[in-house]
């Protein structure tokens, strides 16, 4: 049974999260500031932390830095700050994911599940000529199967080809025309938005929140790219 630590100075939010997460078989621990969280970590085995940034006594960033000295468990930041600078700082210091307040409950549970599955079951992905994996996505070329956080998803052949292209070149930006000519093997027509539509469909299948994708990102004005996984 995975142990989850929820750390937020707002009791109501901690309670709400507890209600959402206690539904399956998670053991929930609570902390109301960074200091409590660090102390609790010392004598309890925790598998995942949900942590607010702005807290009294010790803020989330400091607490996370302390925790990272000893542990590599997944940490998801909860933040009311939607500033990009804060997100980037959080991810750089060692967060695995972030959720902006106010959040949708389902999104929180999905992200928690995804992080836990990767941490407990999958470990690091293996890369071979037939299997590609980035983050929680695994693509088996021979069997034409795609798994996201261990769950199989169904893709159309073209969607599969596009995803394979991205998985083979993580971090690289592909323009719609490049994708078209590589997957359809035809010369692209100017006003066609087939590629854009396919990408959106893939995103709906592999992302928890397609409007804020973790993997398949839109680089507006340039093309699309697959974010290199934030491996632990």
């Amino acid at each position: 049974m995975p142990n989850i630590l929820i750390c937020d100075d707002e009791k109501d939010i901690v309670n709400a999260l507890k209600i959402y997460l206690s539904d399956p078989d998670y053991q929930i621990y609570e902390a109301y500031n960074g200091k409590e969280a660090v102390e609790l970590m010392e004598h309890t085995e925790i598998h995942l932390i949900l942590m607010d940034i702005m807290m009294p006594q010790m803020d989330g960033i400091t607490a996370m830095t302390k925790i990272r000295e000893k542990s590599n468990i997944p940490i998801i930041l909860l933040t009311a700050k939607s500033e990009d600078a804060d997100k980037i700082l959080g991810l750089n210091v060692g967060a695995d994911d972030y959720i902006t307040k106010p959040f949708h409950p389902l999104e929180v549970t999905a992200r928690v599940r995804s992080q836990l599955r990767r941490y407990l079951k999958l470990g690091g992905g293996t890369q071979s000529s037939e299997n590609y994996s980035v983050g929680g996505i695994e693509l088996r070329d021979k069997e034409k199967e795609v798994y996201v956080d261990g769950t199989q998803i169904t893709l159309t052949p073209k969607e599969f080809e596009i995803l394979k292209l991205f998985l083979a070149n993580p971090g690289k930006v592909f323009s719609p025309k490049e994708i078209y000519s590589q997957v359809w093997k035809e010369k692209p027509i100017g006003t066609d938005n087939t590629v854009a539509v396919h990408i959106r469909h893939i995103r709906e299948k592999i992302e928890i929140n397609p409007a804020e994708p973790r993997y398949l990102k839109v680089v507006f004005g340039q093309g699309y790219k697959l974010e290199k996984g934030r491996e632990i």
Binding site: S82, D192, R200, F220
Partner: protein, 632 residues
């Protein structure tokens, strides 16, 4: 055809045609003048022929008479040369030379004077009737016959043919003249048209003559042409044929030079450099540059020096005037000198002070608010002016500081407030959701919880938009510009919004040019602009209509236009729509908070672009304009 004439061969042919028609035209003009002079239009052909024959007979007769009287005619000569048959009868009535036959009927008879004392006569005048001239003298007689069949090709035969032809052609010559003129003009114009043009592209590539300035070229070629005609005209030899050939060659040469000159001028006209490529232009241009340079130098002079120079020149002129126009020079010059002694220092002092005030004002204009004018040594009005300028500077820097501070505080306030609102809002959303999930007998509770969730989510959006609007309008946003293909924005936006548009029962029509149009933009900010505009379309467009998204290049701008038909009547001005919290529907029943367009415009401006709105009846147009990125 045009292509052919642009080749070297085509140009040569045109050149030759020009020459040939030119010669024909000149010849026909000359011919027509001769024809008029010789009355070809009033006299009969035989009459004209007789006149020509008469002339020829006169020369031949003179020659024969001279030879006969000087015993230079041999016995062998039988009185037949070419088509001419002749006989000379002496003063004694006996046949002296030529045909011996006395019974021949002669067509022409001429007489010449013979002196009995045997004096030599060098020039034998021929007379048609001796009696009329001087009956006291004795005359010898020459008889001529001209063979009418013209069996032999001598000058009489040629003369007859010539007169015949001229007579026959006396009207046709004008037709030839006109034709030669038209054709000559045509080939001339064509030649001018193709001169300097390349065969394949029609591009103008000037020849070697182009390097010479037009006026210099005119002079050189004019001299050459004059020489070509003048030299043969000057060295007249005895033989008229040689003269004619030389002159003809000279005139032809001059004609060629003229044609070449015309071609070169045509090229210049086509390249629009006729005036610019002349020595005169160069000289004028140089003079203008020198004048401008001198003027600029004068302007560059510091103000004090300008004043010194002006005052000096003025004083000098005054001095000259006094010396030149006054009787009592001594006293006036003294007075003048005294006046200058007082006035000049005052003027220089004024100039010096004004210079200092000028420097201070310039610093203010450039935005240097810390500059303070040194008012030491200033008096009266000058001092007041200096102090005023100083207080403007401090007042302005204070205002700017205040403005900056208030902008910063506003943004900070909104950011902080939004953060503080978000925390309780998180709880509201979550607990409303939880209430909805509780199994409850009273259905209304579930329904009310849904309303709570929906409205709190809307509140969340409003807060986020508010922060963004405030940041965008104060420029408090980081913008990372990168070169983007503008067409990709359209395809990506089309792809992202396909389903949403379908749900709103709208058809998207995209159009973009073949060529790539690159602009500088921040992808994330640009996405927000597109997101807001596309969202508006989904919300406010009339269902069942088409939505047009187009990209085109107008001059140096990439123009992206969103076009849709509004569902509600737009009783609102374009400026008002851009205002924050203003919405197209007066009832404000649709979702949305009226910040979308305002944010989109601020973001577009932050990226160096522009967003304008056009309303035409129910047609709503949002126009994004970005400067095109020029490669290299």
């Amino acid at each position: 055809m045009r292509q052919f004439f642009r080749t070297a061969a085509g140009k040569t042919i045109l050149f030759l045609l020009c020459g040939i028609f030119g010669v024909i035209f000149t010849a026909t003009v000359a011919g027509s003048v001769v024809l008029v002079e010789q009355d070809f239009y009033t006299r009969e052909e035989s009459d004209l022929r007789e006149e020509v024959f008469d002339g020829l007979l006169y020369r031949d007769g003179q020659s024969l008479a001279w030879r006969a009287e000087n015993d230079m005619l041999s016995e062998e000569e039988d009185g037949e040369t070419g088509n001419l048959t002749w006989q000379i009868v002496g003063t004694d009535g006996k046949v002296k030379a030529g045909k011996k036959d006395t019974k021949i009927k002669w067509q022409y008879t001429r007489y010449y004077m013979v002196y009995e004392d045997g004096d030599d006569i060098w020039n034998y005048q021929l007379y048609e009737s001796p009696v009329k001239h001087n009956p006291s003298q004795k005359y010898a007689t020459i008889h001529f016959n001209i063979d009418a069949s013209m069996a032999k090709p001598d000058k009489y035969a040629w003369a007859e043919k010539g007169v015949h032809m001229a007579y026959k052609l006396r009207y046709t010559i004008y037709v030839i003249m006109a034709l030669a003129f038209v054709l000559g003009l045509l080939s001339f114009v064509t030649l001018m048209g193709v001169s300097g043009r390349r065969r394949d592209t029609g591009e103008i590539c000037p020849g070697p003559l182009y390097a010479i300035p037009a006026d210099l070229l005119t002079w050189i070629l004019g001299m050459l042409a004059c020489a070509a005609i003048g030299i043969p005209a000057g060295m007249m030899t005895d033989s008229w044929i040689v003269n004619a050939v030389f002159l003809g060659v000279g005139v032809l040469l001059a004609g060629n030079i003229f044609l070449g000159f015309c071609m070169s001028i045509a090229v210049r006209v086509k390249k629009k450099t006729l005036w610019k490529n002349t020595v005169i232009y160069w000289c004028l241009h140089l003079m203008k540059k020198i004048c401008v340079g001198i003027w600029a130098m004068l302007l560059e002079f510091p103000m004090i020096w300008k004043v010194v120079l002006g005052a000096g020149i003025l004083s000098f002129l005054e001095f000259l005037g006094i010396v030149a126009f006054s009787y009592d020079t001594g006293i006036l010059v003294t007075l003048w000198f005294l006046e200058k002694l007082i006035l000049l220092p005052v003027i220089f002092y004024g100039a010096w002070i004004i210079r200092r005030l000028q420097k201070g004002a310039a610093a203010l204009a450039e935005g240097d608010m810390s500059y303070q004018i040194d008012t030491k040594g200033m008096r009266g009005d000058f001092k007041k002016q200096g102090e005023d300028l100083n207080s403007i500077a401090s007042g302005m820097s204070l205002a700017v500081e205040k403005q900056l501070k208030s902008e910063r505080m506003k943004t900070e306030l909104i950011t902080n407030v939004s953060h503080d609102i978000k925390t309780p809002l998180t709880s509201i959303i979550n607990y409303a959701d939880l209430i909805g999930k509780e199994s409850c007998e009273n259905e209304k509770i579930t329904e009310y919880a849904e309303v709570l969730v929906r409205q709190s989510v809307r509140l969340k959006r409003l807060i986020e938009d508010l922060v963004e609007a405030s940041k965008a309008s104060t420029g408090n946003l980081e913008v990372n510009l990168a070169a983007c293909d503008a067409a990709v924005f359209l395809t990506q936006a089309g792809g992202e919004y396909e389903e949403k548009l379908q749900n709103a029962n709208l058809t998207l029509v995209t159009s973009q040019p073949e060529n790539e149009i690159r602009i500088m933009a921040d992808g994330r900010r640009m996405w927000r602009v597109f997101d807001n505009l596309m969202n508006n379309i989904c919300k406010y467009a009339q269902p069942g209509t088409r939505v047009y998204l187009s990209l085109e290049r107008i001059g140096n701008s990439a123009v992206i236009i969103f076009r849709n038909t509004s569902r509600e009547a737009l009783n609102i001005s374009e400026e008002e729509l851009m205002e924050r919290f203003v919405r197209g529907d007066a009832s404000r029943t649709t979702e949305g908070n009226g910040l979308g367009l305002s944010i989109a415009r601020s973001l577009a401006e932050l990226q160096g672009g522009k967003l304008t709105i056009k309303i035409d009846g129910d047609l709503f147009k949002a126009i994004l304009t970005f400067p095109v990125l020029n490669e290299r």
